[in-house]
């Protein structure tokens, strides 16, 4: 049983791609597609790593991250953030919210895999 990754993303094709890459590498991947109840989902699922999109229906990735950092059990959870809005100010916002790693889309599969391994090993 590999380590557990939770992927919060609303584009079905991207979900498919990341799930494929990670599960092939031995990770157990769960997915969730909207922002409303993302925090509850994270708390309930207690993953080893969270991959979070920014533009989500219901609640933005930044907000979700802020809430996770405020709650005790998820304070130290490694979070990899993916965004399609590749502006510097987005990166700054993510860092302020307490992101562990920030990547812009499109990404190379190898980079994602590296980042995930690195973050969970730490």
């Amino acid at each position: 049983m590999g380590k557990r990754v939770l992927l919060i993303e609303d584009e079905p094709n991207i979900i498919e791609a990341i799930s494929f890459i990670l599960s092939r590498d031995g990770w157990s991947v769960a997915t969730h597609a909207n922002g409303h109840d993302a925090v509850d989902k994270v708390t309930a699922h207690a993953p080893d790593l969270l991959i979070l999109d920014v533009m989500l229906p219901g609640k933005s990735g930044f907000e979700i991250l802020r809430e996770l950092r405020e709650a005790e059990p998820t304070r130290g959870l490694p979070v990899l953030m993916l965004t399609a809005r590749g502006q510097t100010k987005d990166r700054e916002m993510a860092e302020r919210a307490g992101v562990s790693r920030f990547m812009t889309k499109p990404f190379s599969n190898a980079d994602v895999l590296d980042a995930v391994r690195e973050l969970v090993a730490v």
């Binding site: 584009e11 094709n13 990341i18 890459i21 399609a84 190379s108």
Partner: protein
Amino acid sequence: MAPLNILIAVCLIYVAFLFVVAFAAERAAMRGRGGWLRSPVVYTLSLSIYCTAWTFYGAVGYAARSGLEYLTIYIGPSLVMFGWWWVLRRLVRIGRSQRITSIADMISSRYGKSNMLAVGVTVLAVIGTTPYIALQLQSVTLSFEVFSDVQAAGQTAPDHGATALWVAVGLSFFTILFGTRNLDVNERHHGVVMAIAVEAVVKLFALLAVGVFVVWGVAGGMSETLARIDASEIGTWQMAGGRWAGLIFLSAAAFLCLPRMFQVLVVENDNESHLRTASWAFPAYVMVMSLFVVPIAVMGLEILPEGANPDLFVLTLPLATGQEALAMLSFLGGFSSATSMVIVAAIALSTMVSNHIVMPIWLRATGGGAMVSGDVRHVVILSRRVSIAGVVGLGYLYFRFSGGGTALASIGLIAFAGVSQFLPVLIGGLFWRGATRVGAFCGLSVGFVIWVYALLLPSFGAGVILPADLMAEGPFGLGWLRPEAFFGIAGMDPLIHAILWSISLNTLAFFVGSLVSFPSPLERLQGAQFVNIFEHSSRPQSWAGGKAQAEDLMVMAQRIIGAREAQALFESEARKQGMSGVLPEPNARFLDVLERELAGSVGTATAHAMIGQITGGASVSVEDLMAVANETAQIMEHSSQLEAKSEELARTARQLRQANEKLTQISVQKDAFLSQISHELRTPMTSIRAFSEILREDGLGAGARDKYATIIHDEAIRLTRLLDDLLDLSVLENGQVSLREQSADLGTVLDHAIATALTGVSGPVIRIRRDRAAEAIRLHTDPGRLAQVFINLIGNAQKYCDAEAPVLTIEVRRAGGRVVVDFIDNGKGIATDAQGMVFEKFARVSSAHRAGGAGLGLAICREIMLRLGGSVSYLPGQGGAAFRVELPASGSMAAQ
């Protein structure tokens, strides 16, 4: 030849002629060629419904019995007309500025829009008018019988009741046809007014013809006639002073208070200046009407056998001298008098009954008041129609049960006395600001009770309704309360006695009631508006706005005055406020305008109540009212100037604010635009890159390989479409687009658009409702581009309409050189705050639905319509999401 049959034929032909006149007048008015319909002459002639059959036939009988007393009935109204400057001018101005629909509306409006008061006045008016309608039916019936008597040998006389029934049915039909054809905001009935004007000419001509015949044909000239008058039994002045003065007063009062007179004097008045002509022309009309009455009466008494009914001399005198054609003419005159009275009385009463009794009950019964579903217009029209039939039917029943005869003949003056009870309240309301609703209630109740007790009930005779000993001894032996001798003042004429006490105690109760009560703010405001009608501008009262939801008001207004009218009104008001878009800000001024518009359809009290309901029930704050009602002329003037200035400023500020908001939004959007573009481009790119990397590796099954290739393909198409849209939009925005204009059929374009938009849709397909007949419009446009707009709108409805059974209605109509195509779905619609943004780029209303597309569709639609010389806009207040596409009707494309 049987005169009776001829008579019936003549009647039918005459009625058919009136139909044609009314119909032609309506047509002319509808085509806007009705200027001549509304001349002062027509106005004056329409006032002649004052002269009913009671005066046409009855005046001669009256003169034969009581000499010159009949003149009082005409002198009173003449004095009122000569004094137009005092009262009528005010009434007409108030009637116009407040959109008054009836005398009940007038009184209710003056006393704080109290519907209770309106109901009271309506009931009183119905009680006072019913016997009068019965009287008209009787006169027509009697005149028929005169002809059948002459021919009694060969034929059976027509059944008494049957004639009256046919007349009643015919009149109801005519009135319903022309009185409720449309729900005019001003309650004006061109057809009816024209028909009664024609009838006025007929009856005047008929009476003159009989008069001329009697004076020069029978009596032998003017001086001979005068000599015969002096020699007759009415040869000397025998008028009791009290009756002379009392009846002049009574007829003057009734002239102002009769519901039918109020209808023609105030409601149907088209132009205040018509009063100037009527002020002398109407007295001239009634003077000529009464000119030959005495000669006819005297000659009738002389020639006709003892015991002949003097009420019918106008008919029997020509018949007795063998002038059948003249008799026929005279019959038509009487027929005209009767019919015109019944028609106008029925319209006036039905308006009152419908506005003040039926509509409030209906609105309450259907629950939510103004917000009920369905179109109120047909309810109003239906209730008018039923009321008309009801009013005429009541008159018929009264005629049947009273059995006709003399009891009915004396009812004319009694009815006058009944409606005259409105006078103190009406005049007091015009001239005295201290008059209150409580006072009005007291006065009307007291006057009404005394009228019933001292005049109406005794008129049936001692022992019929009031027991004989009560008449003689008073109730419970209280002698000072004897119906015809209050406070022991016996020996007075019963009519004058009743008028004296009812009017004076009515006035006293009104006065005292007003003094001791305190008026509500709305009453005080309306009081000031009425009394100072010429100083104030015609603004009735102010609403504390802001709370009202413009959209709710729109929904209500559409139901009452019709969708098109309501939209036009809202749009023009929005423009006046300097707003772009369809919905004006619901400020006090706008609510004012709207209320007056609605009042024309449902009456002031109801309109007020409906708006009150939407704006939050508590209607108006005292401060607001008092600010408007401010008394001193200087402050009024000063504030009105300030108001004008501050309004100007407010408008500019509003425009600036709007522009600023827009600019801020746009700059935020410009910023967001780049971010959005980035996001929209990167998302498909992510999938493409990820899967192509996966595909490059080995060890994939054929199924997976296939699947991933398809994803890459789809995402590549998505990218292309996005780029296409972006390019399309930028080309459109820069105006570099070339249009392929050609002639096209709107229906075909829609067919194509629907087919394209709904092809390949997964899940339930929205149902489309169309009206193919309305779509048969030739357009000169770029059909491809137009279809692109339609496809977008239909596709949006398919994607976003959240109803259980989604339906999209496509409505097409022409409006002033433009073709309007509305797309209305039955979903939840778009939230008010998002409506302004839907046409902006990437402005997807809810990101929950990533239903494909990049959010550029509506922005492209807007640009295309701009190029095609039309527009596309969001239409609020339609239930679901509604978009309106407007196109130039013919080849007038916008310049590139």
